[in-house]
């Protein structure tokens, strides 16, 4: 399957295009079906890719020339981390497409196209090993989401989209500068202009500019994740997005930042990373505690989940910057678990909003009798988010803390206390929505539970439980590919 | 005029350009401002011709042809705007009256 990797990028894009075109004629459900078929095909591709294994860490490879004059190629390489995240992307994508029929009535085709285009872009980010191509996907994956936000967002969408745009694109610019600097340094040293990740990675570590260049990458990824102090776009954006966009943003787009930190910061600049690790670990711990603290003060359900999401991403920072293998693999596990659990929480919040008409917890309460199954799921995912053992999130938290413990005892101790604060806001949220006497909205009949929602949440539950009790297969799978020259047999120059 | 010595041509081009520029800055009549812009374009074109002659390169003439095309397009657009303004009921050609597009 030579073309499996480019197909992973092209398939959702063209599938989305087909969905958009199919909207012009035919019944209203056609775009939806086209999208589902696209995702099913993508799942088949991934199954096939998971089965093939070659190379230490790097499992698949594709290269073709693009702009030969500037040394830009279309290069895709897949290692264990990419594979795990591609699966996560698919798992998050399916419910967003599956559950959108209810609230998208106008222009469903366009909606499907934008969702799938985002997914294509994210796939591209996880696969590209040409830095220029990576940058293109990095910028492209957000454009469709801006559209989704602007067309289907909530009341305050214009301001929020602008904020989101400024933060993410602005930080992307810094990354572009860093990429160009790397390419120029390499061209200066070797006389060859190339954007090949593996070649540039060899240069990156030795340059005296390495800390500065790394900072460009780091800020872009920190904004996207987001981590303190670049997080301010995120609660607004999550709150004003339609459910599907919230799920995508929290579930998978934040992981692109974390992925970038592993691939383009920790792996490329080991010594500079070690230098900045104390600062990053401090920021990670402050993020965990500070955002857990802010989460308890919010009234908007989605904002609570948004802040809790930033808080949990702090563990990923701890893991990546601990510089240990257990920390890095824990970070990958945390990405998967966080994607599933936060995505599920947003789906539940979206459902509650759809049925009661509000996200304001001051007006919610006592929903348990009205929606027992959803309450049970909400309880489960709340437990996941407060790091209950047996659920995937705990594995991630434990392993990242184990990694961080080897760097700083105090920071890890404080981070472990994040578990206490997270139980405060998570249980407060449960209490305010589901416990207590039923209030006005809750006392109305809220309608039958929606079977697709329950199915999606059920699948997420099972996956998180499996991840929590038996994470070893994912750990074995998610070994990052090495940058060591021996492993580069796959990364030969493309035929020009 | 010695084709290898473009000084004179450049000087004429500069004078023409300054005349055009001053025309744009001083005249308030839109038609005259358009004419001044044409003069500036032609000044630039003349400079290209002179430079092309100096270095025996065809590029100068290519640029000249392109500038003629630009000038034609510019005149067409500019006049079209003037006509639209007239059709929209503006009774004057004074450029200073059209200042609604400001910060």
């Amino acid at each position: 399957m030579m073309f499996a990797l480019p197909a992973l990028v092209a398939l959702p894009f063209f599938g989305g295009l087909a969905a958009w075109l199919s909207d012009l004629r035919g019944p209203a459900r056609t775009p939806w079906l086209v999208s589902l078929v696209t995702l099913a095909l993508q799942a088949l591709l991934l199954v096939d890719l998971s089965a093939t294994t070659f190379g230490p860490g790097w499992r698949a490879h594709f290269a073709a020339p693009w702009v030969s004059m500037l040394g830009i190629d279309i290069r895709f390489d897949m290692d264990g981390v990419s594979l795990v995240l591609l699966w996560l992307n698919l798992l998050i994508a399916i419910p967003t497409v599956l559950l959108c029929t209810r609230h998208v009535r106008d222009r469903p085709g366009l909606y499907q196209f934008l969702l799938l285009a985002t997914i294509a872009g994210v796939n591209g980010v996880f696969l590209s090993t040409d830095m220029f191509l990576f940058f293109c996907f990095w910028e492209l994956m957000l454009l469709p989401l801006f559209g989704v936000l602007l067309i289907w967002g909530h009341a305050d969408r214009a301001r929020v989209t602008l904020k989101f745009f400024l933060f993410t694109q602005g930080s992307g610019l810094l990354m572009l500068l860093s990429i160009l600097a790397l390419a120029v340094i390499n061209a200066h040293d070797t006389g060859v202009l190339t954007f090949n990740y593996f070649v540039l990675a060899q240069v990156a570590g030795h340059s005296f500019l390495a800390p500065t260049i790394m900072l460009g990458f780091l800020i872009a990824f920190a904004v996207k994740m987001p981590m303190l102090p670049f997080h301010v776009w995120q609660p607004d954006t999550y709150a004003e997005s339609p459910t599907a966009a919230s799920v995508l943003l929290a579930g998978i787009l934040s992981k692109t930042g974390a992925y970038g930190m592993i691939r383009f910061v920790a792996q490329m600049f080991p010594s500079a990373t070690a230098q900045i690790a104390p600062l990053m670990i401090a920021l990670g711990v402050i993020g965990i505690l500070y955002c857990a603290w802010l989460a308890v003060a919010q009234d908007d359900v989605k904002r609570v989940i948004a802040y809790s999401s930033i808080s949990h991403l702090g563990y990923i920072v701890l893991g990546v910057f601990s510089g240990t293998r257990v920390g890095t693999e824990g970070a990958v596990i945390q990405m998967v678990a966080h994607g599933l659990s936060t995505g599920a929480l947003f789906i539940i919040a979206g459902f509650v909003e759809e049925r009661t008409g509000t996200r304001d917890m001051r007006r919610l309460g006592g929903l348990w009798p009205a929606m027992p199954q959803f309450s049970a799921f909400a309880m489960f995912f709340t437990a996941a988010s407060l790091g209950l053992p047996g659920i995937g999130n705990f594995v991630g938290e434990f392993m990242t803390l184990l990694g961080a413990w080897q760097i700083s005892h105090v920071a890890t101790f404080l981070a472990a206390f994040g578990a206490v604060l997270s139980s405060v806001y998570a249980l407060t949220m449960m209490k305010r929505i589901f416990y207590g006497p039923a209030v006005i909205e809750g006392s109305q009949p809220l309608g039958a539970p929606s079977t697709p929602h329950l199915a999606v949440l059920g699948v997420a539950t099972v996956l998180l439980l499996v991840l929590g009790f038996y994470p070893q297969p994912v750990l074995d799978l998610s070994t990052p590919g090495s940058l060591h020259p021996q492993s580069l047999s796959l990364a030969e120059e493309p035929a020009r | 005029m010695n084709p290898g010595d473009p000084i004179a041509a450049i000087a004429i081009a500069s004078i023409l350009f300054v005349i055009g520029l001053l025309g744009v800055m001083v005249r308030r009549n839109l038609l005259f401002m358009l004419i001044s812009v044409e003069i500036m374009l032609n000044a630039a074109a003349l400079a290209f011709i002179a430079a092309g002659a100096r270095w025996h390169a065809a590029d100068g003439q290519v640029m000249f042809l392109m500038i003629i095309a630009y000038a034609a397009a510019e005149a067409a657009v500019g006049l079209a705007i003037v006509l639209r303004m007239h059709a929209a009921g503006r009774g004057t050609l004074d450029a200073d009256t059209g200042n609604r597009l400001k910060g």
Partner: protein, 613 residues
């Protein structure tokens, strides 16, 4: 019988999963039947396992079953493995057998609740988690069980979700114990990086060679975790509120099993704790203070369940004092007898509450002796055991075992224990005399069914005779229990002063009961002075609740509220304002006059050319 060991955990788990998947569609009788069969099998397997183990070839060693590897990365290896030795055998029997009795009782207690299926999902999950906790040989799996019982406790305290106080109590219980859980987690990190494994045996073997500071820190953190779980000072505030849950929950979780998890953990790691005498002393002091603290609070409660809650705290204090004094056997013995009589007391209280229309205030009961004689005798048996009435109760023997050991470590601890025993006999018989004697202030309806009566009877018998498996030398020298545990916990040390201490320990509870009779006898009872400042403070947890509220909870919430819009976001807004300001300033140049623009362009070009040349 290695294959049976996982089944013991699997039985309640399977019941929970089946009930969960049935989504409440199963009728109440079928639910109860399923629960009875599941827990019955669990208890049966437990007993079979225990008998075969004790008669097996390696009855002093341990039976290991490795289920699967949890994570194995970078030299760190941890797995889900079960181990059965004599210590976990005792705990496993307590959890499965008493769990079985309480769940049977609960079938009757919760019969009319529409949500009975959900109740039993939580209860069975709890039993499974607790069994995982006591049977694991790896501390990470212990932590799974540890947190699992915590979350089940949360769910069960908040079981009646339509009342906000229940939700608050549940949240409080979880958050306070979570503090201990976080400490436990840090201890795990410390041990995992130091030892490279979280297996109990590996930890115990590595401990003597590890740096002393690290071991001290680890034991301190573990003690913190245990203290929160067992509601000892200073993390005790959650337990009285936890009584918001249904009464069988209080019997199972907040008396017999979950709260004793910390005792089990410390006993399991006693070899490590022995290396750090300072931490052991701290443990004993915590226990000592909690005994008196909780007994004082229990004296003035009016809610029958809160009396029992404080008494649980106080009895756990005895166990911690015993652990701190190195009396591992005594702590475990008291754990077992306490499980008997406290579960009995809670279930008897539950039967009372059920029959007096969910009234829990003892001053609104009275005279129930005639109306419910069976429950009365059960409650008396439990109270006698709790008070430690000499010779005829289980509590007497276990308490004396602890007090003798404490006397051999420090007479002050013994004195505290005796004082605690005195207060215990007063408060519990105060409760008895007010509830069962005097004029009836309420009318009991219905009957206590056979399903409730049988567990009460069994536990009642155990609360009386359960102590005879360990009788001190001066009274006849029976050592079944300590011989059972000595392969794991070591031989009993030689102890002195037995007979005199026993005599004092026998007399003190009798004085206490007599005093209680004089104070709260049916006729001529002095009115309760519930409004006195001292009594108010005692009732309100000695002010701890209010203190924590003022020092931690309110500032945390208020400051969070103040900063809810995130001051960092405001900083970025500042940036936006600056940009806007400059935008306006430069906007002034944009006059809208084309000629002006042309002039600016010309000036700019000239300047640029000048700079370039």
């Amino acid at each position: 019988m290695a294959a049976l060991l996982p089944l013991i955990i699997l039985c309640p788990l399977a019941v929970a999963v089946i009930l969960l998947l049935s989504r409440g569609t199963m009728p109440a009788r079928a639910t109860c039947g399923l629960v009875g069969v599941g827990m019955g099998l669990c208890a049966l397997f437990g007993v079979i396992e225990a008998v075969t183990f004790l008669n097996g070839p390696d009855s002093t060693g341990a039976l290991h079953v490795v289920l699967w590897h949890w994570i194995h990365v970078g030299g760190f290896d941890t797995s889900f493995a079960l181990t059965l030795d004599r210590l976990s055998l005792v705990m496993m029997l307590v959890v499965s057998c008493i769990g079985f009795l309480i769940l049977v009782y609960a079938c009757s207690y919760m019969r009319d609740d529409p949500d009975i299926a959900r109740f039993f999902v939580y209860m069975n999950l709890f039993v499974a988690s607790m069994l995982l906790l006591v049977l694991s040989s790896d501390m990470i799996a212990v932590y799974f069980g540890w947190e699992g019982v915590g979350v089940c406790s949360y769910l069960l305290i908040g079981f009646w979700y339509h009342e906000t106080p229940n939700a608050n109590a549940a949240r409080k219980a979880f958050v306070v114990t979570r503090i201990g859980d976080a400490l436990f987690l840090v201890a795990l990190l410390l041990l995992a990086t130091g030892v490279g494994s979280l297996d109990f045996n590996a930890v115990i073997q590595a401990a003597p060679h590890a740096p002393h500071a690290a071991i001290t820190l680890a034991t301190l953190l573990l003690l913190g975790g245990a203290v929160a779980k067992s509601a000892q000072l200073p993390l005790q505030t959650w337990l009285p509120d936890a009584m918001a849950g249904p009464t069988p929950v209080s019997a199972l979780i907040h008396a017999a099993t979950m709260v004793t998890a910390g005792v089990y953990l410390i006993a399991r790691l006693h070899a490590v704790f022995l290396l750090t005498p300072g931490v052991m002393l701290l443990c004993a002091v915590i226990g000592f203070v909690t005994i008196l603290f909780a007994a004082g609070s229990a004296l003035v409660q009016t809610d029958i369940k809160r009396v029992l809650a404080y008494s649980t705290m106080s009895q756990l204090g005895y166990m911690y004092m015993a652990l701190g004094c190195g009396a591992w056997q005594g702590a475990m013995f008291h754990l077992v007898t306490h499980a008997f009589f406290k579960a009995l007391l809670f279930m008897a209280a539950g039967s009372i509450i059920l029959r007096v229309h969910h009234e829990q205030d003892i001053f609104k009961m009275g005279g129930l002796r005639q109306e419910m004689p069976g429950v009365f005798w059960a409650f008396i048996a439990g109270s006698a055991a709790l008070a430690g009435l000499p010779l005829i109760t289980a509590g007497y023997f276990s308490k004396e075992m602890i007090l003798t050991s404490a006397y051999n470590v420090a007479p002050l601890f013994w004195l505290g224990g005796i004082l605690g025993a005195f207060l215990t006999s007063i408060y519990i018989f105060r409760c008895v005399f007010i509830t069962f004697w005097g004029e009836a202030r309420t009318h009991a309806h219905g009957r206590t069914g056979i399903v409730q009566a049988v567990p009460l009877a069994i536990l009642g018998v155990l609360a009386i005779i359960g102590g005879w498996m360990e009788v001190p030398d001066s009274l006849g020298s029976v050592h079944i229990f300590s011989n059972l545990l000595s392969p794991v916990l070591g031989e009993l040390p030689e102890e002195h002063g037995g007979a005199v201490l026993l005599l004092i320990g026998s007399i003190v509870p009798l004085i206490g009961v007599s005093l209680a009779w004089m104070l709260w006898k049916p006729t001529g009872r002095a009115p309760e002075a519930l409004d006195q400042p001292l009594v108010r403070v005692l009732r309100a947890d000695w002010g701890f609740d209010a203190l924590y509220d003022v020092v931690f909870v309110r500032p945390y919430l208020a400051l969070g509220r103040l900063n809810r819009n995130d001051f960092i976001d405001r900083l970025y807004d500042l940036l936006a304002s600056v940009t806007q300001f400059f935008g306006r300033a430069f906007g002034l140049m944009q006059t809208g006059q084309v000629r002006r623009y042309a002039a600016w362009i010309a000036v700019g070009t000239v300047l640029a050319l000048c700079l370039a040349v």
